[in-house]
Amino acid sequence: MKIKSGFMLREIVDTWVVVPLGERVVEFNGIITLNETGAFLWRGIENGEEVSSIVQAVTREYDVDRETAMNDAIEFISVMAEKGLLVE
């Protein structure tokens, strides 16, 4: 699983924004903002890490248990997939 090319994650005044670039602007209508954990998950996926290792990293970085982190990650991935931001 990878993030589709042509998207840039950028922090603007404490808000993480997914910015489409090039032809993605035409196919991608709207703006996605992410919270801190969302941005963390995005970067993990962007770096090609396995979901289990990203979840482990989330539990180390934030005050959250593994089950909650896993559920959040699954939800995040399903939303990203729904929006067409992921490729296998």
């Binding site: 840039m8 950028r10 603007i12 005044v13 404490d14 808000t15 924004v17 910015v19 489409p20 670039l21 090039g22 602007v25 709207g30 703006i31 903002t33």
Partner: protein, 288 residues
């Protein structure tokens, strides 16, 4: 060289004879203004224009080609009916401050080449390198405070700006594409020569006090937006360089600085004086 000053950027236009640029008259630099030019544009004619080499990053009514070499230069061009028949071509350096415009001499002229959309594109990108952005908005000045009204098309930007001009005596800065710049952490809003109607393109500048995002509603009500809400509403209204990641990063720095220095409101509004009163209360009475 003819010199114009748009949003504080001095643009020098070089051609083999002086051009009649009515559209830019209000922006003409005074003869005694000897300050250095920020953006150079050489204008020349050619019988035929070759397609620029590089990567085609935008293939629309405008075509944008980025060079693949170290220069990072860009070309933007407009074709006639056939895709290889270029009417106007802009070649620019990486910083968008040293450009040439070539026009096809049998069908077009230098005046149209300069007052047409290519110089507007050059200006927008050049402004990004000078801590600025162009917004899709209407802007007015009242009691030395600039207010920007922005929203998707047909929401009522012009209506709100006119209500301010007609009822409060505000001065219209621009009714479609004003520029903003953040200089020493202070935001300013500027008129530009680009709007639907020339009478709505005034060469005015004001300190920017607030950005008001509009939504049509049955009741007039104003509220402050959080930074996240402001980004979601304002970002799509900015002319951003989605086709160049490097300039995009600078543009987003500018957007961030704009949001840090300017309060953004949401005005749910009717097209009436009550909407003006809501904005007045919020900005001049701090009553939100």
């Amino acid at each position: 060289m003819q010199k114009i000053n748009i949003a504080g950027l001095r643009i020098g236009i070089i051609h083999n004879k002086p051009l009649l640029l009515d559209k830019f008259n209000p922006y003409t630099c005074l003869k005694q203004d000897h300050k250095e030019v920020d953006v150079y544009i050489k204008v020349k004619a050619s019988k035929s224009i070759d397609i620029p080499k590089g990567e085609l990053v935008l293939n629309d009514s405008f075509k944008w080609v980025k060079s693949k070499d170290e220069s990072n230069s860009s070309s933007v061009y407009i074709c006639r009916e056939e895709p290889n028949d270029i009417a106007y071509l802009l070649n620019t350096n990486n910083e968008w401050n040293n450009a040439e415009i070539i026009y096809q001499e049998n069908h077009f002229n230098a005046e149209c080449a300069v007052t047409g959309p290519l110089v507007e594109i050059l200006f927008r990108n050049s402004l990004i390198y000078n801590k600025g952005l162009v917004l899709h908005a209407s802007a007015v000045q009242y009691e030395e405070k600039g207010i920007i009204f922005s929203a998707p098309s047909e929401t009522g930007k012009t209506t709100q700006a006119r209500l301010w001009c007609n009822n409060m005596g505000a001065v219209l800065i621009n009714n479609d594409r004003p520029a903003v710049r953040i200089i020493d952490n202070i935001p300013y809003v500027y008129g530009t020569p680009w709007s639907g109607v020339s009478s709505e393109c005034n060469n005015n500048v004001s300190k920017l006090e607030a950005i008001v995002m509009l939504e049509q509603s049955d009741e007039n009500c104003i509220s402050k937006l959080t930074k996240e809400e402001a980004i979601r509403k304002l970002m799509p209204r900015c002319f951003l360089p989605y086709y160049d990641e490097d300039i995009m990063k600078i543009a987003l720095d500018n957007l961030e600085n704009l949001l840090k220095s300017t309060q953004v409101y949401l005005l749910k509004c009717r097209p009436d004086i009550g909407a003006v009163q809501e904005v007045y209360k919020a900005i001049w009475r701090n009553n939100v």
